[in-house]
C-alpha cells in the first residue's frame, strides 16, 4: 500500500489533488482511497489531504501517519509546520517551488535528489493554464517522481475531473512538470 499526504492551504485544492491520485490509480485497476483532513479550516489555513493506493481492497480508515510520499503545494508551509512528519525512510517529497532544496536547508544526506525535489508548479500552471493553480500540475511531477501512477493515468483523471478547456491546460502543465522531473532525475543519476 502506497500512502500520500498532500499539504497546502485552504482553497489550493489539496482534496482535489488527493482524489485525482486516487482516480488515476482506480483507472489503472487498483484500489484507492482519498480523504481530507476532516475539519472546518477556511481559505488560507494550512490543510492536508490523504490518498492510499493498493492492489487489494482498502479497509483501514485511520489517518495516514507514515506517508510514502508528501506533496507540498505551498513552500511557505515549510517554515510553518513540520511537513515531513512521519515520512517513511524511503519516502518521497515533492515541493512546489522555484527554489532549490538547499534554499530550504535540506542537505543531500537527508534529502537525496532521487526522492526529494522542488518543482516550479505555479509557474508551469501560469504558463499552460494561465492561472496559478499548482495542484493538478504537481501530480505530473508526482507520477515522474514516484512512478506509482503513470502520467497518462494522471492526465486521464484530470480530463475526467475538469471541463475540457481547464483539463487541456492542466494536462499540458502536468506533462511539462512530468518532463521537468524526468530531466532532473536524469541529472541526479549522472551526478
Amino acid at each position: 500500500m502506497f500512502q500520500v499526504r498532500i499539504h497546502g492551504r485552504g482553497g489550493q485544492g489539496v482534496v482535489t489533488a488527493a482524489e485525482l491520485i486516487a482516480q488515476a490509480a482506480f483507472d489503472e485497476g487498483r484500489h484507492a482511497q482519498a480523504f481530507p483532513s476532516f475539519g472546518s479550516e477556511r481559505t488560507g489555513a494550512p490543510v492536508v489531504a490523504f490518498a492510499r493506493i493498493s492492489d487489494e481492497e482498502i479497509r483501514v480508515r485511520e489517518p495516514i501517519m507514515a506517508p510514502d510520499a508528501i506533496i507540498v503545494q505551498d513552500e511557505t508551509l515549510l517554515g510553518a509546520i513540520d511537513v515531513f512528519n512521519g515520512l517513511t525512510p524511503s519516502g518521497y517529497v515533492l515541493i512546489n517551488s522555484t527554489k532549490t532544496l538547499a534554499d530550504f536547508g535540506l542537505k543531500q544526506a537527508d534529502a537525496p535528489m532521487d526522492r526529494f525535489i522542488t518543482v516550479p508548479a505555479t509557474q508551469l500552471a501560469l504558463e499552460h493554464l494561465g492561472r496559478p493553480v499548482p495542484n493538478a500540475v504537481l501530480l505530473g511531477a508526482f507520477a515522474a517522481l514516484t512512478k506509482v501512477v503513470s502520467i497518462d493515468s494522471v492526465n486521464k483523471a484530470i480530463t475526467q475531473r475538469f471541463s475540457s478547456k481547464l483539463a487541456a491546460g492542466n494536462c499540458a502543465a502536468a506533462s511539462a512538470a512530468y518532463e521537468f522531473v524526468q530531466s532532473k532525475l536524469k541529472e541526479s543519476t549522472h551526478a
Partner: protein, 395 residues
C-alpha cells in the same frame, strides 16, 4: 457501474435511482454533499417527478417529509448531529404515524461543546425513536443500504435511518459500484402506501389516543418493528440476487466461528479493526469481528449465534451514555445474558478522535489477558483528565 467516487456522491446517486418524489433537507456538515448532489440532479432534470424542498430547519425537513409521505410520495431526507436533535419531535412522530421515510444520518458528535467530527452520538440518541437503524461499513454498503432501506421501509410501513460515518465515509473517495437504474427498478417496486391522504377516500390520520388504547398502539409498533428482523435479511438476499453482492442484513461476522475474542463494532471502524484482526490472526491469535448492520430493531438472536463460542467480547463503540457507559454493549449483554462471557466496553473515536490500528493492537492485547477495564476509553489522555478533575474538584 464501478466508479472512484466520494461517498456522499455515491449515496446521492443511489438515492436518485430509487426515484424519490420528495426530497427535503437543511444544510449541516457532514451531510451536505449528499443533498447538494440530489438538488443538482433534480434541478438538471436528471431526477424527474421529484420535488426538492429547501426547508428552513431540520424540524421542517422531517415535517415536510411527514406530509409528503402521508400523501403517498416516496420521501427522503438527510441530516446529522444537532440537525437530528432539532428534528427529534418529528422523528418520533414519523415512526408513530408509520410513514416509510428514508433518512441518511451522516454520523457526527453532538454538543456542547460543538464538534463537527464523527461519532455515533447523534443516531444513538434516536435508538428508541421507533425508526429502523442501519449502519454502513463502507461507501459501497452505504449506497446499497439506501436502496434496501426504501424497500424495508415501504414493506413494513416504518421509517428507516441509514447511518454512515461523517467525513470518514461521506467525504472519502473510494471505488463504489453505483447501482444501475434498471437494477434498482427491478429490485424496488413503486411505492404503494398503506394509508394515504386522498380526498376520494378520506381518513383522519393522527388521532389523539388516550390511556385506553395507547399501550396497545405502542405494543403493536414494537411487534411490527420486530418483523424487520426477518424482513431485512430477505431484502438483503433479494438485493444480492439482483446486484450480485452481499450488502446489508442484520450482522456481518468475520472469523467469529472459532474466535475466542470477538470484537463488536458498527460502521466504518470495522474496516480498520478487520485489518488488525488479520494481522493478529497471522500471528495465530484467535480473534474475530462482528459487525452490526441493523442496530434497531436489535438482532439479539443473530448476535447470540455469532457469540456462541466467544470467550470474551470487546465492544468498540463511538457513542456512550453518560452515567452508564456503553450503549451497544448493553444491548449485546441482553443477547447473551445467560452466558458468563465477559463483555468489555470500549468507547472510541468520540468527536472525530482517530481510531488507529496501533491503539487497537494495544487494546486487544489487554483484552487477551483480560486486563481490560469493563469500561475503557480508547486513547484517553489520562493525565489530563485526572489533572482537570482535581483542579475542578478543588474549586
Amino acid at each position: 457501474m464501478l466508479r472512484q467516487v466520494e461517498g456522499s456522491k455515491a449515496v446521492a446517486d443511489a438515492v436518485a435511482c430509487c426515484r424519490p418524489e420528495v426530497i427535503c433537507a437543511y444544510p449541516i456538515s457532514p451531510q451536505t454533499h449528499i443533498v447538494e448532489g440530489l438538488s443538482r440532479l433534480v434541478k438538471a432534470g436528471d431526477l424527474k417527478n421529484c420535488e426538492f424542498v429547501n426547508v428552513e430547519s431540520e424540524f421542517a425537513a422531517m415535517s415536510v417529509a411527514i406530509g409528503a409521505s402521508a400523501t403517498g410520495a416516496r420521501t427522503y431526507t438527510a441530516t446529522a448531529s444537532q440537525g437530528l436533535l432539532f428534528m427529534v419531535e418529528a422523528v418520533f412522530n414519523a415512526s408513530g404515524l408509520g410513514l416509510p421515510i428514508v433518512m441518511t444520518v451522516a454520523n457526527r458528535a453532538i454538543g456542547g461543546p460543538i464538534n463537527i467530527w464523527n461519532d455515533h452520538s447523534d443516531s444513538m440518541s434516536q435508538r428508541d425513536s421507533g425508526w429502523i437503524q442501519l449502519y454502513a461499513e463502507t461507501n459501497q454498503e452505504a449506497a446499497d443500504l439506501h436502496v434496501q432501506a426504501f424497500r424495508i421501509a415501504e414493506e413494513l410501513s416504518l421509517p428507516v435511518m441509514v447511518c454512515m460515518d461523517g467525513f470518514i465515509l461521506t467525504h472519502a473517495s473510494e471505488q463504489v459500484d453505483i447501482p444501475e437504474q434498471e437494477q434498482v427498478d427491478a429490485f424496488l417496486p413503486p411505492y404503494s402506501p398503506r394509508q394515504v391522504l386522498n380526498p376520494d377516500e378520506p381518513v383522519s390520520i393522527g388521532a389523539m389516543v388516550g390511556p385506553e388504547a395507547f399501550m396497545e398502539v405502542r405494543y403493536m409498533a414494537h411487534a411490527k418493528t420486530l418483523l424487520a428482523l426477518e424482513k431485512i435479511p430477505q431484502v438483503a438476499k433479494d438485493f444480492e440476487k439482483v446486484f450480485h453482492r452481499d450488502s446489508g442484513g442484520l450482522v456481518r461476522p468475520y472469523h467469529c466461528e472459532d474466535a475466542e475474542t470477538v470484537v463488536i463494532a458498527l460502521g466504518s471502524v470495522l474496516g480498520t479493526i478487520k485489518d488488525v484482526v488479520d494481522e493478529l490472526r497471522e500471528k495465530g491469535t484467535s480473534i474475530g469481528v462482528l459487525g452490526i448492520i441493523t442496530f434497531r430493531p436489535f438482532p439479539f438472536e443473530a448476535v447470540r449465534n455469532a457469540l456462541k463460542n466467544a470467550k470474551r467480547v470487546v465492544v468498540v463503540e463511538k457513542a456512550f451514555s453518560i452515567g452508564i457507559g456503553g450503549i451497544v454493549s448493553e444491548n449485546v449483554k441482553g443477547s447473551i445474558s445467560e452466558q458468563k462471557t465477559p463483555i468489555y466496553t470500549v468507547i472510541a473515536g468520540l468527536g472525530g478522535r482517530p481510531i488507529t490500528k496501533t491503539s487497537l493492537h494495544a487494546l486487544f492485547h489487554q483484552a487477551f489477558n483480560d486486563s481490560l477495564e469493563p469500561l475503557t476509553f480508547l486513547d484517553l489522555d489520562q493525565d489530563l483528565v485526572e489533572r482537570e478533575i482535581i483542579r475542578e474538584g478543588s474549586k
